[in-house]
């Protein structure tokens, strides 16, 4: 069976032109494959390149060498070489990403931020807003906050907005970068439930989970990410 998301010989290095062209290799020879309904936790010491790998998988970072193959519309799309418009389309339909930080859009209400990706996927506006409200409630975000822009929210509240935005559309592939970092135990449990429900529905998940308890609750296996200097 073709994995929902896989990499072939993925390598990534940064060249810092402003620092005399210093080249920093971060990833090398990464061969990752994630099946439908599977949750893979990236594992490795801090600075090993877990977040870089996540960003490469989302197409946010370009790949140095190798391929990043996403199962999109029944075919494999190489995010490393795809046209930007194809990447945007894949992100709209197939590939979701929950980062640690919410990029706040000025003046847009929380409910609309969560509903936006659903509307982009063709969900009727009213239905999208209803689903957004339900998910925000489940994540214990009080109703009085739903109509406000999240710029002034606390870190934990912003993260829950981010989670709602990532989980609401039901992407076939979901990338989670420390989704529970700023959450308390009660909310962590809700996130674990959300992840397990998504898996049950066939979502392929790649995540970075620093919290051992969460990781053990959701991850089917670990994928080692080693620092390049060590590996070389």
């Amino acid at each position: 069976m073709i994995p929902a998301l896989r990499t072939e010989g993925l390598a990534k290095a940064f060249t810092l032109h402003l620092q005399g062209g210093t080249r920093i290799p971060v990833l090398g020879g990464v061969d990752l494959a994630v099946q439908r309904g599977e949750c893979v936790a990236l594992w490795g010491p801090s600075g090993a390149g877990k977040s870089t790998l996540m960003r490469c998988l989302y197409g946010n970072y370009g790949a140095g060498t190798g391929r990043i193959l996403l199962r999109h519309r029944g075919e494999e799309l190489d995010l490393a070489t795809a046209d930007p418009r194809a990447v945007i389309e894949a992100r709209r339909e197939t590939l979701g990403y929950v980062s640690q930080f919410l990029r706040v859009i000025p003046r847009v209400a929380t409910r609309d931020i969560v509903a936006e990706p659903m509307i982009a996927r063709g969900v009727p506006r009213e239905e999208a807003l209803a689903r957004a409200t339900a998910l925000l409630r489940r994540l214990n975000l009080p109703d009085r906050l739903h109509g406000l822009p999240p710029a002034t929210f606390s870190g934990g509240e912003q993260q829950r907005v981010n989670l709602a935005r990532g989980f609401a559309p039901g992407y076939p592939v979901l990338l989670l970068d420390e989704p529970t970092a700023s959450l308390d135990a009660a909310n962590r449990a809700i996130v674990v439930a959300l992840i397990n429900e998504a898996k049950a529905q066939g979502t392929a998940i790649v995540g970075i989970f620093h919290d051992a308890e969460v990781r053990e609750a959701v991850a089917d296996r670990l994928f080692d990410v080693l620092p390049q200097q060590d590996a070389a």
């Binding site: 032109h17 946010n60 970072y61 370009g62 930007p84 418009r85 945007i88 389309e89 859009i105």
Partner: protein, 252 residues
Amino acid sequence: MTTPLLTAEGLTLRFGAIPALLDVAIDVAEGEVVAIVGESGSGKTTLLRVLSGLMSPDAGTVRWLGQDVHAMGEAARRRLMRTEWGFVHQNPRDGLRLNVSAGGNVGERLMAVGARHYGNIRTEALSWLARVEVDAARIDDLPRTFSGGMQQRLQIARTLVTRPRLVFMDEPTGGLDVSVQARLLDLIRSLSRELGLSVLIVTHDIAAARLLADRILVMRRGRVVEQGLTDRVLDDPQHPYTQLLVSSVLAA
């Protein structure tokens, strides 16, 4: 994938010895927001003027739905400019008639394409003032009595009233206060999504480009030095100039 609405290839333009554009290629698809960023003098405004037919290149072609923009004749180009295209200027004074009321400004494009029913023109003008958050009570006021942000919103209403498919924007938030900028950016963002507009926006504001644009082109000395997905170009810049540009932005 849909074929692009606007395509340009090999655009070159020199002002004397100074190259303003060097072999620039760009295309814009339906519903896509494309940002052109770069420092002053990098040729981004010149590129916008050449793409919108206001200026002819020394070499290269610009095509709108396959038709050569610079070969189509002024009448056809003007018709395009008031129907399928729109242009939002940095200075609202360049895009508004300051001695004509807000309603007249919005209505002008409708009348230019043949609207001859006063009541309908007025209703349409009122609905557009509401969309750009200008108080309906100001419909008969002259734009010179408006604040800079209001003037810019009025210019956007005036441009969008005929439902163009592609809007060129030249530093639309250029002369505005930061607080007003955010409101305007949000307006551009929501309107372009709602209407499925294609937007080609020139800006030196990296944050604005990130907020609005699907794709980004980085220009320097008349060349496109880097282009691609907005967040990839800004988060993983490859060209030294892009790295400099991105690292120069103060994080708010």
